[in-house]
């Protein structure tokens, strides 16, 4: 192992005497990529901090050996570590939004790293900065150099972070969930860039992630951690083909399977007469319609100028029509900023509406009328992304489940208590724990509490806004199973808002694809995924990571560098009427002019 960029031998990390990483050993050869996989609390990020010598002083302690360039990093002084950090080992963080200093020009931040470690200055320095920006494919770097981070998109910021990490040609790059906060199309671009640059520079990469799809795309070797222990370690093909540990197998299974397959050839859409989406088309399933949304519009004013006048509107949701049948699940997918969450919020009156009609169980909702609003709230409930944030930290969970029943007068006294206990059992919690506070439960259990609270109102529709996105893979599966089970038993419908294709695949009967506030494609989930009709749907699906390293190269992400049209429109702007075409009996797609 003489050509190893880094060798870790029996690394143990403890915090205040409590060991969290129990003996970790690995090597990364030059130019190789090791993926360190695990859920939150598995010790994967702590490992990277130990390598960088960034464990909290006085609390964290690392023992073992980290051999890098012939030296044991654990024995080095802080001064020596400073020279290695950023110079020979560099790090890319998860949050491109917060890893850049917002009050410093992007070029200056990049220049600082280069000056510190390469000692360049003046024109030479500027040329080096420009070269790095060109390397990470920032368009018009001469202009971008003098701009501040807030004018950069998430993907561009992450590219700047990569440029900073690569600025001094490090021999090891630690990438800690570098694409987790990014949209899937941006993730595909970022991974591609990272791979290209790695080939160019021959750097070793330690890639920390929880997403097996990303592992399949980039890794040579995989190391799976759980509770601070290594449970699987091997070459990427072996691990994916024959996982030894059942936990690894679970992780691999959690990747989206339909979307992972190659899309089939698709027939051309047959234009619909008049071009409009037929009303009947929006609800396929049998039975009564629970939710009907017609031409929903949500706009947010953009203020500007000296007097703060309204200069335009963000068209967050533009003429969206959809409907959900009883017992059906409709998925809303799209990237951040596509308006998918806003639709759910507008239905439940957490966002303003500028037009359109919403019917719940056949009744038109008049949002200015208190009685109509109260009726809607009883029938429509919502589950949020962050189960801890959406519970009152000072209220016992039993009381949280009881409160809506009492407020709406659905039950009281012993009857309400009984119903609360029944609900807790239904979602798989012990009713004896009703007196506990939310922080005494785990993340998955808290989401169960939120589901019980939503069910307390006996709703007909539950809007799940990224309800499983923040959960670890193994828990995510359990919550989805719970939601499906409850649907079968209680006949409740879901509007499942998510960017997570594997979850959408598993739970949604139909799926609607959102792009800049508009639905561009809607249809049964398997059809939309296998035969995507709209160019954007195809781009979105092509960017989803592969499920097995054998598929590398079989699917090229459709990458577009051009900036999509802005959702900010001048006051009084009217979007042209949509032209819809039919792909299957319930599969509709927008035809672009």
């Amino acid at each position: 192992m003489t050509d190893a960029a880094i060798s870790v031998r029996d690394l143990r990390v403890s915090f205040s005497g409590k060991e969290v990483v129990h003996g970790l050993s690995f090597d990364i050869p030059r130019g190789g990529t090791l993926a360190l996989v695990g859920e939150s609390g598995s010790g994967k990020s702590v490992t990277s901090l130990a390598i960088m010598g960034l464990l909290p002083q006085g609390i964290g302690r690392a023992t073992g050996e980290i051999l890098f360039g012939g030296r044991n990093l654990l024995g080095l002084s802080e001064r020596d570590m400073c020279r290695i950090r950023g110079g020979e080992i560099s790090m890319i963080f998860q949050e491109p939004m917060t890893s850049l200093n917002p009050v410093q020009r992007v070029g200056d931040q990049l220049a600082e790293v280069i000056r510190l470690h390469r000692g360049l200055s003046g024109a030479e320095l500027e040329e080096a900065v420009l070269e790095m920006m060109r390397k990470v494919r920032i368009p018009a770097p001469e202009k971008r150099l003098r701009q501040y981070p807030h004018t950069f998109s998430g993907g561009m910021r992450q590219r700047i972070m990569i440029a900073m990490a690569l600025a001094c040609s490090p021999s090891l790059i630690i990438a800690d969930e570098p694409t987790t906060a990014l949209d899937v199309t941006v993730q595909a671009q970022t991974l591609q860039l990272l791979k290209d640059l790695q080939q160019e520079t021959g750097a070793a990469v330690l890639f920390i992630t929880h997403d097996m799809g990303v592992v399949a795309e980039v890794a040579d070797e995989v190391l799976v951690m759980r509770h601070g222990k290594v449970i699987e370690h091997g070459a990427v093909h072996d691990v994916f083909s024959n996982p030894r540990d059942p936990y690894t197998a679970d992780l691999i299974r959690a990747a989206p399977t339909l979307a992972g397959a190659r899309p089939e050839a698709r027939p051309a859409p047959e234009p619909l007469p008049g071009g409009a989406l037929p009303a009947a088309a929006e609800a396929c399933g049998a039975g009564a319609t629970v939710l009907e949304v017609r031409d929903l519009k949500v706009r947010f004013p953009v203020h500007g100028g000296l007097l703060g006048r309204v200069q335009g509107n963000v068209h967050a949701v533009e003429k969206v029509s959809l409907s959900i049948a009883r017992g059906e699940t409709l998925g809303l997918v799209g990237e951040s900023g596509s308006g998918k969450s806003t639709i759910g919020k507008a239905i439940i009156d957490l966002a303003p509406r500028q037009g359109g009609e919403i019917r719940v169980a056949g009744q038109r909702i008049d949002y200015r009328d208190k009685a109509s609003l109260a009726a809607m709230r009883r029938k429509v409930q919502m589950i949020f992304q962050d189960p801890y944030g959406s519970l009152d930290a000072r209220q016992s969970v039993g009381s949280a489940i009881l409160e809506p029943m009492l407020v709406h007068g659905l039950a009281k006294g012993a009857e309400a208590q009984e119903r609360m206990a029944w609900l807790m059992e239904k979602v798989g919690l012990d009713p004896a724990r009703a007196g506990s506070l939310p922080h005494e439960f785990s993340g998955g259990q808290r989401q169960r509490i939120c589901i019980a609270r939503a069910l307390a109102m006996e709703p007909e529709l539950i809007i799940a806004d990224e309800a499983v996105s923040a959960l670890d893979v193994s828990i995510k599966g359990q919550i989805i199973d719970l939601m499906i089970g409850l649907q079968e038993e209680l006949g409740v419908s879901y509007l499942f808002v998510s960017h997570d294709m594997s979850a959408v695949e598993r739970i949604c009967d139909r799926v609607a694809v959102m792009y800049f506030g508009e639905i561009v494609e809607i249809g049964p989930t398997p059809e939309v995924i296998r035969q995507p009709g709209h160019p954007y749907t195809r781009r979105l699906l092509s960017a989803i990571p592969i499920t097995h390293p054998d598929q590398r190269g079989s699917r090229r992400p459709i990458l577009t560098e051009d900036k999509p049209s802005s959702p900010i429109k001048p006051v009084g702007f009217q979007s042209p009427p949509a032209q819809w075409g039919r792909l299957g009996s319930d599969h509709f797609v927008r035809c672009e002019a």
Binding site: I348, D349, L350, L373, A374, R377, R378, Q381, M382, F384, Q385, D386, G389, S390, L391, D392, A393, R394, Q395, S396, G398, S399, L402, E403, P404, L406, V407, H408, K412, G413, A416, A434, G435, S436, L437, C450, R453, M457
Partner: protein, 292 residues
């Protein structure tokens, strides 16, 4: 409704409260001991001294400490120890009540402003800013001069000057909590505005308000003493600490202990309230503790 909704919560809450007591640090305990001692001294004043605070004795004018009088006597021959004990009643009552009034009114107004936003917010907070623009002492002085120096009026005047501070902190707290996911979840569950504000948001901002109130009690004690010192406190012969300092000031060169004893009393009380406030803040917001 409250009884029905909360029985399961009781044990958990009790645990949380006990936890808070255990987490209190040394400085808070020192502050608490001083305040409790002063409160007990004020209540049991008649048992701690044989003298009356207003009984004059021409034969023992300006006698030094010791000699039958623990802390000596003033220029009218009144026992200073007795006056200090009885004076504590006024200082504590005014300090505590003024801030309790300010806390209730200010927090309520601030919460309403923060929750409703828009025009209500602008109008309420502009009024608060105007009040805040005056130095507290000047404003209190003007108010007392205007409405008369009775105990109730002094409490009102000091409460008036402290109200904006509570309004501001409550408004800021409500504004950050209002947009948190749990508050949105409450709205999605169809809870009314007042219910969300007072049942769910208020408990979250109260710790901060409590910390603020103990810090402001120190200020209130000081303001009361200052008012008394410039002659706008309770009318003589009522023993107030500020008034005693003023009277002692006339004889500061010959008998400095006249002014020294009440000054130390004021210092102790202000220090105690500040210690409690700082200690509570560390418990409520651990981040500040790490930073310091």
């Amino acid at each position: 409704m409250t009884d029905m909704a909360h029985p399961p919560a009781a044990p958990a809450k009790r645990r949380a409260r006990l936890g808070l007591l255990r987490r209190l640090n040394l400085s808070t305990w020192i502050g608490l001991v001083i305040v409790v001692a002063l409160v007990l001294a004020a209540i049991f004043a008649p048992w701690l001294t044989e003298y009356s605070p207003s009984k004059q004795n021409i034969l023992h004018q300006l006698s030094p400490p010791g000699d039958g009088h623990l802390l000596g006597t003033d220029q009218y021959g009144r026992d200073i120890w007795a006056r200090l004990l009885y004076g504590a009643r006024y200082s504590l009552t005014i300090g505590i009540f003024a801030i309790v009034v300010a806390m209730i009114v200010g927090t309520f107004l601030g919460m309403i402003a923060g929750f409703l936003g828009g025009r209500t917010d602008i109008v309420l907070m502009q009024v608060m800013d105007v009040i805040l623009a005056f130095p507290a002492l000047i404003l209190g002085l003007a108010l007392v001069a205007l409405i008369g120096a009775t105990m109730g009026n002094i409490i009102i005047a000091i409460a008036f000057t402290a109200t904006p501070a509570f309004a501001r902190i409550a408004r800021a707290g409500v504004m950050t909590q209002r947009d948190r996911e749990y508050a949105q979840a409450c709205r999605a569950l169809g809870f009314s505005g007042p219910r969300i504000l007072f049942r769910h948001i208020m408990p979250a901002i109260l710790p901060e308000v409590m910390v603020m109130s103990s810090l402001w009690m120190a200020t209130a004690v000081r303001t009361e003493a200052s008012l008394a010192f410039i002659g706008l406190g309770l009318a003589p012969p009522t023993p107030t600490w500020g008034g005693m300092v003023r009277e002692g000031y006339d004889n500061i060169l010959s008998s400095f202990h006249l002014a020294l004893a009440p000054s130390i009393a004021i210092l102790l009380l202000v220090l105690a309230f500040n210690l409690i406030g700082d200690g509570l803040r560390d418990v409520v917001d651990p981040r500040l503790k790490d930073a310091s």
